[in-house]
């Protein structure tokens, strides 16, 4: 049999302890992404962002004397394809800079936990904070919604006792956003009207018609960009003039080149990770590097991918200082890591198990007139509601 001898990969003579995915010259990280399925825009963005980071790091001499190598695999957002692909790569990588797809993360969560394979999920649901192997970069959707509503109330769009609506996808993403609006509604005695949709629904007519007849004062969105556009145009068409607050993934600047472009005036979105097009120095730096190298239409994933790289960089550096680049060493390092991702995702703190690494968000508005299509209406902030909020796995 060929399978008798086990991989015990000792990293050779250096003083640093290693097990998987690390040699004397390389540190290999994996990316399990969607480059061909429904989330290929996001997947490609993140992957390319991480690649930019890896290039930057390697040009600067690598980490711990080693170059960063990425193994990227495309699963097309299919769990059945992702599972063997994970099986193919898991012995070759130290951890993952990207694990995209909530059904896939759900299926692999037990394995990455068992195998101590630290991975950055490409989604921000606080319900995944139960595993120490899940390295959540940035604020979670529930936090975003809390900050978002706080902003709305500040602006006077919503008052205590009002009725509000929330259109959310019935998924990890949507449900986590809903946790936030529910918490906010509870704190401020708002009546919340949830409208559950599925990820592939694109027509929000019925949802808007429904919320209009309920007479809500503001609508939260935890949807896809196309769904956002549909909701906004429908509301406009039906003369239903309320403000919208959307989670980070609800917006994509390409929407501004669609017929929906005129419907964005009352739309605000909250993000923990800065959008690609943001007019902020760090974001512009990434954007410039991206445009020089890639042709795909960029999106928020690029900055997130880069930020995830920065987080790994900090973790690896800590682990290197501890002379332990094993998986356990990485886990130990994560628990000590605080990173400044500059404006990409603000200050991140991974030392609190079960808690998001940040509770801060930006508020932005779509604006076709400015470069990047976005104006920031509120810089990074942490609302009192978000600060007080207890995430599902918070001890």
């Amino acid at each position: 049999s060929t399978k008798g001898n086990q991989n015990t990969g000792q990293g050779g003579g250096s003083a640093v302890k290693t097990d998987f995915g690390v040699t004397n010259t390389d540190i290999t990280l994996g990316a399990l992404t969607d480059a061909s399925g429904p989330f290929k825009n996001l997947g490609l963005g993140i992957t390319h962002g991480s690649e930019l980071w890896a290039t930057d790091v390697n040009n600067a001499g690598g980490i711990c004397g080693r170059q960063i190598k990425l193994i990227e695999k495309d699963h097309g957002y299919a769990t059945d394809k992702a599972i063997p692909l994970y099986g193919q790569m898991h012995d070759d990588v130290l951890g993952m800079v990207q694990l995209l797809g909530s059904p896939i993360l759900a299926a692999l969560k037990k394995q990455i936990t068992d195998e101590k394979l630290v991975s950055v999920p490409a989604s921000w649901a606080s319900t995944n904070l139960d595993s120490p192997s899940v390295l959540m970069v940035g604020g979670t959707y529930d936090i975003e919604q809390l900050n978002g509503f706080s902003f709305m109330q500040q602006k006077g769009f919503v008052h205590d006792g009002d009725k509000i609506g929330h259109i959310y996808i019935d998924s990890e993403y949507g449900k986590n956003g809903l946790l936030g609006s529910q918490a906010y509604a509870k704190a401020h005695n708002l009546a919340l009207v949830p409208e559950k949709i599925t990820a592939t629904d694109t027509d929000m007519t019925a949802a808007i018609t429904g919320l209009k007849s309920e007479g809500v004062k503001a609508i939260a969105l935890t949807t896809t960009p196309a769904q956002t556009a549909s909701a906004l145009t429908q509301a406009k068409a039906q003369g239903f003039d309320v403000p919208f607050i959307g989670n980070n993934p609800t917006f994509d600047p390409v929407l501004l080149s669609t017929p929906a472009k005129d419907a964005f005036d009352k739309f605000y979105f909250v993000n923990g990770v800065v959008p690609f097009s943001a007019d902020l120095p760090a974001a512009k730096d990434v954007a410039a590097k991206y445009s020089a190298k890639f042709t795909d239409t960029p999106n928020i994933g690029v900055d997130f991918g880069y930020a995830s790289g920065l987080v790994w960089q900090s973790v690896l550096t800590t682990a290197c200082n501890d002379k332990d680049l094993t998986r356990q060493g990485i886990l130990n390092a994560v628990a000590k890591t605080k990173v400044d991702t500059r404006e990409l995702a603000g200050q991140l703190d991974f030392s609190q198990p079960g808690q998001p690494s940040s509770r801060m968000s930006y508020i932005a508005q779509a604006d076709a007139a400015v470069p990047g299509g976005i104006t920031y209406v509120k810089p990074l902030f942490e609302s009192p509601e978000a600060a007080a909020y207890k995430t599902p796995f918070q001890k």
Partner: protein
Amino acid sequence: MGAFLQVLINGTGKGAVFALLALGFVIIYKATQVVNFAHGSLALFGGYVVAVLKPSVGWWVAALSGIAAAALLAVVVERLLLARARFASDAGLAILTIGVDVVLLTEIARRLGTEAAPFLGDPYDVRPIVLGGVTIGRTQAVAFGVAVALIVVFFVAFRFSSWGIAMRAQSENREAAALMGIRIAWVRAGAWAVGGALAGISVLFLATQDFSGGGLSPATHGVALAAFPAAIIGGLTSPGGAVVGGFVVGLTEAFTAQYVSLDFSKVAVYLVMLVVLVFWPSGLFGKVVQSRV
């Protein structure tokens, strides 16, 4: 009351597009007994051609080219693949269309890349007509008009030409039809051309902000799935039934979304279909297959 009317209008508008899809589906089925799983891809292909041509030749030429392209592709699929799979069963041919569907969907999705999804309804999209308290998406209104016009055309064609008879005859018994002088290849290819053209027309409404909130994307393909229950509710062999089925689906979806829950609306469509089938096992207007010994 305002909401009710609005829902009625939303449902009717959607129904018109489903009706167009289902009509093409049924015509293909009626003529060739093939359950065309690639119907959504035909639509997507037509839409892709429109999206590619629109910037250079304008909407009208692009739209016509898209319809023609979808029709042509349908004919190619029929002539090049289905007609050659002479010994395949009906189920085999249906599966063959799945193969076609996978190839088309994959390739078009690849070509669409990461660009913004192209929108196809320029002359009517996002220009609602507001009447009193209700908003009528212009897309819906145009789709409704087109659907009604086409339905009349087909009704006349079936009624007053031999096309319908030839279609049925050759789908039932190819040899006997050949012995009646029916040009089987023409009839079959013709039916596919019509089905493809209808798919090409419907995508002009599917890939709009008004109808689906999105431009042309692989999701458009998924929306076309509604042609299934629509065609079955009406009865697979009845073009008129397909139209009725389309409206039933559109209205059921709209009303359950409003008065039960949005989430439940798709299930509701299928539950309505089940109820119809329990009472009319071949759909509302489908021919009951009788046999004797």
